[in-house]
Amino acid sequence: MLDRLFDADVALPASALGALELHQLFKSTYDGIWRLLRGLGVPTDRLDDAAQQVFLVYAERHADVVRGSERAFLFGTALRVAHVVRRGTHREVPVEIDYAPSEQPSVDELTDQKRARQVLDRILDQLDPELRDVFVLYELEGFTMPEIAGIVEVPLGTAASRLRRGRERFSALVRRYSTFGPPSLQEDAR
């Protein structure tokens, strides 16, 4: 359907090639952008708007984006949009999860994906934003370290260090969760 819509622009001033590239770019990155925003803590009810904002920023500036770095631009924009949205939501994020001893969760429990996502969200919320950015880009979105260094705009060594610290923190939180169970997960948190 989008294909048809993009095909309709042949009579417009934009070159057909440009429109086709935009179409391909949109198709290949939208899901990843949306997922990244989610992984970075944008509330569910604002995810679609935030994703839209990312693409509109690109649409307004695509003439200025260096050819070949479109994805990096989009994902870098998504990072900034996520930070702005998170700052605006004033969500209270505790420094430490107040774990209450509870029955140890089984693997079966975690196969319930919604619950697993809630737990993941809660754990990611405990990561420092700079560690979280790199961790989510690497572990969830599959970017390479050089790509991440470009997106986050830090030296490669810094990105690698952030990933290492993010993984240590993530593993520690998961271990803690495995031992004590989660805090009462609020159904409306996500």
Binding site: M1, L2, R4, L5, A8, A11, L12, P13, A14, G18, A19, L22, H23, F26, S28, T29, Y30, D31, W34, R35, R38, T44, D45, L47, D48, A51, Q52, F55, L56, A59, H62, S106, V107, D108, E109, L110, T111, D112, Q113, K114, R115, A116, R117, V119, L120, I123, E139, L140, G142, T144, M145, L156, A160, L163, R164, R167, F170, S171, V174, Y177
Partner: protein, 255 residues
């Protein structure tokens, strides 16, 4: 280490992988994607039109010409929108979580029945009968009246025609772990058998990308490089964003 193995690829513990897999399986709503696509298109066209107009015309005519170009872009976009609107698949009011759908009523689960997961955008209204979205398999029909209390739902028989084999992410990971171990141990045939079994058990599995990657590795290690190359092409087509694409491309190259 600059390129550590990813947690989801076997570096992490089982729980870590389960959690990350759940995050990776999250998907946006089709309708929101479509809407954003239209806006993206219109604004992109508007920007380009404006640039053309500014470049071609003098300052006096600029505003009017820009307005004309923008009107043309918006008008054409709107016409396109109307033209395709009839073919837009209806956004499912509720989507049956494909993983939850595969989990039969296991007593240890918090939600013993397949859950109805609201799409990310506000859903218009709950429904009593939820049919699988078109992209899901038609063989699963779930009756999940949301108005019934949890205790009643737990007591009610699950009206689910699920495939015979129990399906869950844990089982998927387990199967893939065995295949991965076989590849690592140099037993490519066994790995392929395991992956065939995985394909039969999880035709819509969450970790199919990982399964295909393992299959390609197993084929290469079994000397079936031509088949591996074909599958690697298919992998790139199916998962253009995957971080594995380049590595697989190098893997299937002729030595």
């Amino acid at each position: 280490m600059i390129h550590p193995k990813r947690l989801l690829e076997g570096e992490g513990t089982e729980i870590e992988r389960l959690l990350l897999a759940s995050g990776r399986a999250a998907r946006p709503s089709t309708r929101a994607k479509w809407r954003t696509g239209i806006l993206f298109f219109l604004v992109s066209i508007g920007t380009v039109s404006k640039a053309h107009a500014v470049a071609l015309l003098g300052a006096k005519a600029r505003a009017w010409t820009v307005a004309q170009w923008l009107a043309l872009g918006v008008g054409t976009g709107a016409a396109g929108w109307v033209a395709v609107q009839a073919n837009v698949p209806p956004d499912p009011v509720a989507v049956v979580d494909p993983v939850a759908r595969r989990v039969p009523a296991a007593p240890s689960l918090h939600h013993a029945q397949p859950r109805v997961v609201a799409p990310p955008e506000p859903a218009p209204a709950p429904v009593n009968v939820v049919e699988a979205a078109p992209r899901l398999e038609g063989r699963t029909q779930v009756q999940a009246p949301p108005t019934v209390s949890r205790s009643k739902r737990a007591a009610a028989p699950a009206v689910v025609d699920t495939p015979v084999v129990e399906r869950s992410i844990a089982s998927e990971i387990d199967e893939l772990d065995r295949a991965r171990a076989a590849v690592g141990g140099g037993d490519a045939k066994r790995a392929i058998d395991r992956l065939n079994r995985y394909d039969r058990m999880f035709p819509q599995g969450t970790l199919r990308e990982e399964a295909l990657r393992l299959r390609i590795e197993a084929l290469v290690s079994n000397g079936e490089r031509a088949t591996a190359r074909t599958l690697a092409q298919r992998f790139r087509a199916l998962y253009p964003e995957s971080a594995h694409s380049e590595r697989l491309k190098a893997l299937v190259k002729e030595p």
